[in-house]
Symmetry: C2
Subunit: 318 residues, 2 copies
């Protein structure tokens, strides 16, 4: 048995590349499901909304404690059917410094549960700022008081609009940490047609152009699954085969299953380089499973049931 792919990183030499870690963990857990964590303080699971934070704490501190408790409960319930969690950074940032603390606690809890963490912030910026995002998400920051560890995510999402030089800095930071980058290629929202789908004078579309960049950034392709992946909306299954053609080794992060209308059965081409080639992201469809008609039992039981249903459906396809 190889090294534990969820082990905390000791340094560059100690960490296998992200693609290897991902493929090993998908095989070990028999799951390609990524549990989206988008906590809304007004819609937390019962029993987590009053986690015992002092009533004299600020609203931000109390809400952040409740959000952290909710995320722990969701991970405990649905995590066993998943390979990773995907916290949406916006949902934590809106609670300020305590919210960032809740994010850090959620990352630790997910790692303790044996899950990878994909930080969903869709960052992108010029050189010096991109380096700072790399330090924040997967690296550490040297300071006169000692190194400050970042979030310790195993991968993060990135936005390609500003060009390849901005992505390269993020990819370099990720590689040094044994982490991965999922670049937005063709997303699951209706607005994907506005920029991503634009036909180019040279042929193809903006998203096909970005897909080639993603493939290039993932080279050399010395592993079955690259460290540079793509965010590919599950709501446009007609594109998945073309994406796989353009990015043969990239792991695809496939949001849009469930609440946004995508069906896991439409995603078969994603799994061509191996099961870890297609990661099926689901958030509301798992966390809110209890609220849908006919779902039985507690939020935790309904979430576990829906996550297991998705897991089995994806596993059977690949």
């Amino acid at each position: 048995m190889g090294p534990d792919p969820t082990a905390q990183r000791q340094g560059p030499a100690a960490v296998p590349p992200f693609g290897e870690r991902l493929a090993a963990l998908v095989a070990r857990r028999e799951s390609q499901i990524v549990l989206g964590l988008d906590p809304d303080p007004q819609r937390l699971w019962p029993g987590t909304s009053d986690p015992g934070a002092g009533a004299d704490a600020t609203p931000a501190a109390r809400a952040a404690a409740a959000v952290a408790a909710h995320c722990r409960a969701v991970i405990d319930a649905a995590g066993p059917a998943c390979v990773a969690v995907k916290p949406q950074l916006a949902c934590f940032e809106r609670l300020g410094a305590p919210g960032w603390g809740a994010l850090e606690a959620t990352v630790r809890h997910a790692h303790d549960a044996g899950l990878l963490v994909l930080a969903d912030g869709k960052r992108g910026d010029i050189d010096v700022s991109a380096r700072a995002y790399g330090q924040a998400l997967v690296g550490s920051t040297p300071t006169p008081f000692g190194d400050v560890a970042g979030l310790g995510a195993d991968a993060f999402t990135a936005n390609p609009f500003m060009g390849e030089d901005t992505l390269e800095v993020l990819v370099d930071a990720a590689r040094q940490a044994g982490a991965g980058v999922f670049v937005l290629v063709r997303t699951s929202n209706p607005g994907a047609r506005d920029v991503e789908d634009l036909p180019l004078a040279a042929g193809g579309t903006v998203w096909e152009h970005v897909a080639r960049t993603v493939d290039r950034l993932g080279a050399p392709h010395d592993a079955e699954i690259a460290a540079v992946g793509a965010v590919v909306g599950a709501t446009a299954p007609e594109h998945v085969a073309r994406m796989r053609e353009l990015m043969p080794r990239a792991p695809f992060l496939l949001p849009g299953v469930g609440a946004q209308g995508g069906r896991v059965e439409d995603l078969a081409p994603a799994f061509r380089p191996g099961r870890a080639g297609g990661l099926v992201t689901a958030s509301r469809s798992i966390v809110d499973a209890h609220a849908r008609g006919g779902a039985a039992g507690t939020p935790a039981a309904a979430a576990r049931g829906e996550a297991e249903r998705l897991r089995a459906a994806a596993w059977a396809l690949a």
Copy 2:
């Protein structure tokens, strides 16, 4: 004399639109300079690196206290020649929860100094996540424990890659707060050619297409300066006139002056709708002015001198 454009917002009815607030403050302060704050814990001004945080505090807490002290000192030195500050969120996020606390302190100090705050995070995401970013940056988040105030920024930067529906949510959140949005259109880095400059089958480039979206999102144009602006790299002055043609009322945020090679003298078309139409962003050229050969005196004196030089140069042009 009208209402104080830097006054803290009491609610939607109490706040004039961002374009009006910006134009009034530019006129009052006779400045179009935006002070970029990209604090690197290894390169803080002397005297701010040991701000008296307890030696038993964590490295993150000590570094965050030093960063906050540095930003206060920079604002006190260069702020009088500026109309706004632009904190780079990545530089604070890399210090975790204490870093977000330093960001909040920096926002408060800038407001106390009479400056607007443009939060530079280049966010962009689908509906529910975009709403969360709006809450985090310019709004507030309802929770069972009371509303949690966001950062209280006066404007923020946004990434258009995922399409108009993602921008609309951010623009709506901003309008409700009397805040503005600066959308990436054509940035100052070499990689701008990779996606932004791509020629489209229908004619024009990706950035020209995005520019039309920015103009549309800023409508109705009932003020001289719209609430929806554009990030327009000062390193490509040949594009500025075309951008003004496509976005007649958008305020332009012009990074790249100084350290990235842009010259304020090349930016005249930006100022066509009025002086507030062109905001000149400078970070390292101001904060590191003392490190350049020939600059006299303390970091504070050198920063104040460089900010004033830029202010006078831009003001003379418009």
